[in-house]
Symmetry: C2
């Protein structure tokens, strides 16, 4: 299992990527990570951070790439102009058979654009999309699309359902993932025009479609897959992140008001970190690109080493479980 | 100031409405609340709950209405068939000049439908909508539309911006409310087709338009008004509610694991309730219907007495500050 890791993608610099790679190869004996980026710099940092970890260092190599696509670059322009960018070179490695998957914490639009340009779409897929795991009070739920396709037709949402369902079945070991359609009400007939049309496709499909789900239901964990267009999915994800940040700020402000509460805070700190671990995107292993003819995982820009390690694990699991073969088979079988 | 209160609307029964009314009239000397519902039952409960509060009881009356629209009723059917429903009778009181505004914690679709049927739209308004206050780390932000219009055109979103901006200016005392357009990225050019088209209208308008805002920005409190279609707004609201509930459940689960954390919890309990008060929709006074030719406030179905009292206060404030006159004037001035 060879994973190409965009070493220059994250906001926190290549150290995080290297630390993540070191952690990943320590966990798994059959794993090889290829760090993609400026070779001189990466080799130096790798030698330093990997000191005393000779076993791990044997499972990591560096592949040179001279350019970096930043968060400020337009995805379309960047993919056209920065041919030597880490993310482009990463997907080249997959294309040439030198790697099995790509992991990047960089510009997600550019990562998707590079994946499509280098690897193309899976046969039958109209629009690849980005799936993401959301924590819930039960097991995580996979929401798709979280931002690749802001204007969708019903056929696209239908394919998101098929792709995410295949992925959930294999990664989350759900024999028949329950698929919900994100809407403004659970009742039949609720939704905008797009949702109503998609409902008809899903209800006639052999997917385990449980009907409309409301925003409130996403975090209940009663479904395995939630389908929506990339505009709504992006807002759902970012509203959640924003609320979590704001709530933490407000709570801290209240706690800092009294000594009593400050003491209480010290006592619950461990419970708080257990809680944070449950809701932390870093624990969820990044967002799979689904529908591309290969395997790619996008991580949050602020990914730490744990997030990178988990993303490498999800990428490996997607390859090992042949998620793309399942998507092709299911799309063929279920074509709406 | 006479507010008609749908006494049968909330999930928690008429007691909550009565308690809310008692609290509201105790706060304000110029306020009269008209409880709308089955008069025998309401008079009995009012006498009981208002025992010893003769001053308050003088400011509350009961107006009979024999039917109730439930949460399960289809708004369109209910408004057509249940002519004697509390919410219909409430808007009749406004229409006939016997009340200045309606407050209801009932079926929000039916409340909007009843308002439009009984009072009509303000001149120039294509689509009335529902605005709602979201807590942020700074002052609350007004988001519109939260669910009345699931399929919108750019002109509708533009009018939401004008209406919410007028309302925010008068209720939140913001001389020039900062208006953001909810999108999947803050950069110019981000958004689905509807958002891109709306952006052009807003940027040319005299509104204090600050550009696209991401989901993450909603809770930062850097804008006063956030505009989106009712489908996206409904999902934003309910995703937030769902996350807040789930996070509280997960946190409690973690805290219950150790005695140390349980003790800590006792010490921060007061801080937690201060925090809850900040994020509690009950504190925000319900959701104004904007664009109808009158004043109506929708409350959350689970509203307690505090929420009802605050909604009555917002309704009074809208009437007192002549929000509708401001909307008409601003729409005329800014017609896109």
């Amino acid at each position: 299992m060879r994973i190409a890791l965009d070493a220059m993608g994250g906001d926190l610099g290549p150290e995080m990527a290297i630390q993540g790679a070191l952690a990943a190869v320590s966990d798994k004996s059959d794993l090889h990570v290829i760090l993609v980026g400026p070779s001189e710099r990466l080799n130096g940092q790798l030698a330093e951070l990997g000191r005393g970890k000779n076993g791990a260092l044997e499972c990591i190599s560096v592949h040179h790439a001279s350019e970096v696509i930043t968060m400020h670059d337009s995805p379309v322009d960047a993919v056209r102009k920065k041919k030597e960018a880490t993310i482009m070179v990463g997907f080249d490695l997959v294309k040439n058979g030198a790697a099995d998957a790509v992991v990047s914490a960089g510009n997600s639009g550019a990562t998707m654009a590079a994946a499509i340009k280098k690897l193309g779409r899976l046969p039958g897929v109209a629009r690849p999309g980005i799936a993401s795991f959301f924590p819930t009070v039960k097991q995580p739920v996979m929401l798709m699309d979280i931002g690749a396709n802001v204007d969708c037709r019903a056929q696209h949402l239908y394919q998101f359902a098929v792709m995410a369902s295949s992925c959930s079945r294999l990664l989350q070991k759900q024999p028949r993932p329950r698929v919900g359609l994100l809407s403004n009400g659970a009742e039949v007939g609720k939704g905008n025009a797009l949702v109503k049309e998609t409902y008809e496709l899903l209800v006639q499909s052999p997917l385990n479609f449980v009907g409309n789900v409301e925003g409130r239901d996403v975090y209940r964990g009663d479904v395995d897959v939630v389908v929506c267009d990339g505009f709504v999915g992006n807002i759902s994800l970012k509203i959640s992140e924003g609320l979590a940040d704001a709530a933490m700020q407000m709570l801290k402000r209240e706690i800092m008001k009294t000594w009593r509460a400050k003491l209480g805070y010290l006592l619950i700190r461990q419970a708080l970190s257990g809680f944070k671990k449950q809701v932390d995107y870093a624990e969820y292993g990044g967002a799979p690109l689904l529908g591309i003819n290969g395997t790619g995982i996008i991580c949050h820009g602020a990914s730490n080493a744990v997030a990178i390690r988990n993303a490498i694990e999800v990428a490996s699991s997607m390859v090992r479980n042949r998620v793309n073969e399942a998507i092709i088979a299911t799309l063929g079988e279920y074509s709406a």
